[in-house]
């Protein structure tokens, strides 16, 4: 078993005159979760389709589970599960029937498929709906069935193309739990998303692509560091004291403060100790502060600084405090 679950080198894909991919390099280690992050049209689906043997690259090569996707597609297919961007269940069939069909097409024994289906339906909270046509399912349920369908053969490598697009916030959180559960079981995951927050939450490593090219790569933390460190943000209560506040902040900041109305922000280094010094400096000036916080850059900021334009669908409220510590092996 090779250490790398997915290796792609110089993937180029042209559709006629449209260059969807302009040379993508990508590596996913066994047991790792890599998030492919990019706006609509960046080339995410094209990458996933090449890696899951649905499309041939124009040039470049890719290996999945050690097999070349062009030369040994059959071997690759035995190792992977794919949950594509578009719903891939037969909506006239029940949830259980869908799983039975896909199980049979993976050439799994019927008895195994029955037991595994029941287990998947149970863990994805679909047991009550198992014998209803998928047509009657909500968006979140359908997506879970979709995911369950790609798990019936217990693939070691899973491709998830925008697994939560179109889901309401509650279903999205549910989907995150499900994905984190799979990862805890040792599944290697390559997922794509337009949601910066999602990549941050789920992925060990993030590959940012835009217009068919990798524009940045690394952990969420490294990406954030790449565009500079933390910023301090304060808001003053009395409009006449803004200038004094700026003077106070200048004494602790590593760059020139920016003012917007009653809010002052400035780049800082030194982590949370800066907050203490800032409060002291403001106190010396006698400025009353309404709010003070240390803001870590979000992936929105990363994206904006890397591409010069914002990601189309921004799901993350920009100043949401970041919880880390995903407890993953």
């Amino acid at each position: 078993m090779t250490d790398e679950a997915v290796v792609a080198v110089g993937l180029v894909k042209e559709f006629g005159s449209v260059k969807a991919l302009g040379g993508i390099d990508l590596t996913v280690k066994r047991g790792q979760v890599v998030g492919l992050l990019g706006p609509n049209g960046a080339g995410k689906t094209t990458v996933v389709r090449i890696l899951s043997t649905l499309l041939m690259p124009t040039s470049g090569y890719a290996k999945v589970a050690g097999f070349d996707v062009v030369k040994n597609p059959a071997e690759v297919r035995r190792e992977i599960g794919l949950t594509g961007q578009y719903a891939a269940v037969n909506e006239y069939l029940t949830g259980r029937e869908n799983l039975a069909m896909f199980g049979a097409l993976y050439h799994l024994p019927a008895k195994y498929v029955r037991e595994k289906s029941a287990e998947l339906l149970e863990s994805f909270e679909l047991t009550d709906a198992a014998d209803r046509p998928a047509k009657t399912y909500s968006g979140g349920m359908r997506r879970r069935l979709d995911l369950a369908s790609s798990l019936i053969a217990q693939p070691s490598i899973l491709f998830l193309d925008e697994p939560t697009t179109g889901l309401d916030p509650r279903s999205r959180l549910g989907m995150w739990d499900v994905i984190n559960g799979l990862v805890a079981d040792g599944t290697t995951v390559l997922l794509t998303t337009q949601y910066l927050e999602e990549a941050d939450q789920l992925a060990d490593e993030i590959v940012v692509i835009d217009h068919g090219r990798v524009i940045a790569q690394g952990t969420a933390e490294t990406l954030k560091d790449q565009i500079g460190g933390d910023r301090i943000e304060i808001s003053v209560i009395d409009p006449t004291r803004v200038t004094d506040a700026v003077d106070a902040i200048r004494t602790v900041s590593s760059g020139e403060p920016a003012v917007e109305g009653l809010t002052i922000s400035a780049p800082v280094s030194g982590g949370s100790t800066v907050l203490v010094s800032a409060i002291r400096a403001l106190d010396v000036q006698g400025v009353e502060v309404g709010d003070i916080l240390l803001r870590r850059p979000t992936l929105d900021d990363v994206f904006l600084s890397l591409t010069g334009h914002a990601a189309e669908e921004d799901a993350a409220p920009s100043d949401e405090p970041k919880k880390r510590g995903k407890g993953r092996k």
Partner: protein
């Protein structure tokens, strides 16, 4: 730490057939879930039987039957039924076109193609299910025909052969239909494109009028049309009136010509459509 699961052994007939059976089984389950669709695919041929039997009955004389005027209508109905059978199974292609275009328009195609299943199985399964649905259609048509005076007089064995020949024809046109469905950009276009060619195909034949009534330049075209030979062979096997045939090889050997055409059509269109399928992704 992900356990790999033991898979089944390669079946005797190969994965294409084995996976195709799985796909068609669930396609037929789907038919049971949407009975409305099946119902309306039955209504059209039944309406045709009633229209032709009562509106045209007797207006189209069948040469060579030596019928008296009062029997003409009844003879025409017996002449007509195999024609309607032939036309109906030909139209199975249209359902296949729409079915295939529908399958391609969802993410299902991507999932199927990412599975370690045989590459021809989805098409084999879909076309097989489309042809299998024709069994019910033929049954309902036969009952309707019986009610308007159609009779099988050629013996049980011959009748079985006639039905099998109709199903073989249905199976071969569903491959043409599937090929069209795969090539269409969306379901709407597919539902039109799936129909247009079927009208000339079925009306430029002996399905409703004897070939001898056609202008002489049209006769050879109609004579080499497999629908004509299918209908003629079916008439002979059911023991229904056939009318007089112009002298063309296919019309002298209708069963052989029909089986040969079906085999050729399946070979060509199965190759074309499976090749296309292996390059298709969800739109």
């Amino acid at each position: 730490m992900t356990a790999s699961v033991q898979t089944r052994k390669r079946p005797l007939l190969g994965w294409n057939i084995s996976d195709g059976v799985v796909v068609s089984r669930f396609s037929l389950v789907q038919t049971l879930r949407v009975p409305e669709l099946m119902f309306f695919s039955l209504v059209q041929p039944v309406i045709f039987v009633l229209l032709f039997a009562y509106v045209f009955g007797g207006a189209i004389p069948i040469a060579g039957t030596g019928a008296s005027a009062e029997d003409a209508a009844n003879i025409y109905r017996n002449y007509l039924m195999p024609g309607i059978f032939g036309q109906t199974v030909a139209f199975a292609a249209a359902a296949s076109t729409v079915g295939m275009a529908e399958a391609m328009s969802t993410g299902l195609i991507d999932r199927f193609r990412s599975l370690p299943m045989a590459s021809g199985a989805v098409l084999i399964g879909h076309t097989f299910a489309d042809a299998a649905r024709q069994i019910l259609v033929l049954l309902v048509l036969s009952i309707t025909g019986f009610l308007v005076g159609w009779r099988i007089t050629g013996g049980v064995w011959n009748a079985v052969c006639a039905y099998l020949l109709l199903l073989l024809f249905a199976y071969s046109v569903t491959w043409v239909g599937a090929s069209i469905g795969l090539a269409m950009p969306n379901v709407e276009t597919a539902s039109t494109a799936g129909l247009v060619w079927l009208f000339p195909l079925t009306f430029l034949s002996n399905a409703f009028v004897p070939l001898s009534s056609m202008p002489s330049w049209l006769q050879p075209i109609a004579a080499y049309n497999p629908v004509s030979t299918l209908v003629l062979a079916t008439r002979e096997l059911f023991g229904n009136p056939t009318g007089l045939q112009p002298d063309y090889w296919p019309l002298n050997n209708p069963t052989i010509y029909t089986i040969g055409s079906c085999a050729l059509v399946i070979a060509i269109f199965a190759t074309l459509s499976i090749r296309k399928y292996t390059k298709t992704t969800a739109k």
